[in-house]
Subunit: 136 residues, 2 copies
DNA sequence: TACAAATAAGACTAAATTTGTCGTATATAA
DNA sequence: TTATATACGACAAATTTAGTCTTATTTGTA
């Protein structure tokens, strides 16, 4: 199945929310989770990952929260997906960080690998081209 | 996660195999499953689905098997995915055959829906553009 | 006609992944 | 010092995917 995971879905919702607030105001995990009826703990972890990967910045403590630093034009869907430790590799053999030999036994002799790699390249461009601006 | 399921992966392997044999010779499920070390029963079911959806044709009995009728240019990745009853809808709310209200509680007020629908349209074009020819 | 080779189809099980929860730690403004 | 917020990892539940098993049907050939 080709689809966004909940993680990605919630990340996009949150990013849209934060982006729409501009670059001055903070949004908190609680605020967003209440607004969209998303599990607070789950969303919190997602925001933490996004912060860790500099998609958003975080400030701890009272009056803290998350906000953007970068321009919405400068953050791509690729970056968001990858910062959540997710992937948009179409097949196991094309995963960047997991060239796990045991993942696919036929990888060596597989005649599908090359054609799919070409499709994958086109998909990479596809996701690189989509930015947070497209969500606003 | 954005990736092909095993079903899709195996379908593509099989389709490539069958396509490379031309339009006269039959390929059997056993032959392909042996060649690629894929579970015979699983592959058989996948080929049955493809046949049911006229991606390939099937002939029962001794000397039977599967082969192509259509030109490899005329079968798209979209069609293959859909014939397996899989989907490439990015979010639950964008699924063609399942406008299941309970799938997403916030679908009505969701501000992400429209931007994602635009991305989805671009993805549809992406998959419509890829044909079996790209696997050969 | 009997048999072997092949597709057809559905129910069931096992494995893997995803989703969500819980507990604890740390930082900070008031 | 307390309330509010992020940070992080372990665990549990739920869902989905992958694979197996069984039975039926079709068809060429010895």
């Amino acid at each position: 199945m080709i689809k966004f995971s909940r993680k990605t879905e919630y990340a996009l919702i949150a990013i849209q929310y934060i982006a729409n607030k501009g670059i001055t105001e903070f949004s908190t995990a609680k605020e967003i989770s209440d607004n969209y009826n998303i599990s607070y703990e789950l969303l919190a972890k997602i925001l933490q990952r996004l912060a860790k990967n500099n998609i958003i910045t975080s400030t701890k403590g009272v009056n803290g929260g998350y906000k953007f630093l970068k321009s919405p034009d400068d953050v791509t869907l690729s970056e968001i997906i990858e910062s959540l430790n997710e992937s948009y590799a179409l097949t196991r053999c094309l995963k960047k960080n997991r060239p796990n030999k045991t993942d696919c036994q036929i990888a060596d002799c597989c005649t599908l690998k090359n054609p799919v790699a070409i499709i994958q390249n086109r998909l990479n461009i596809f996701f690189d081209d989509i930015t947070i601006r497209h969500l606003m």
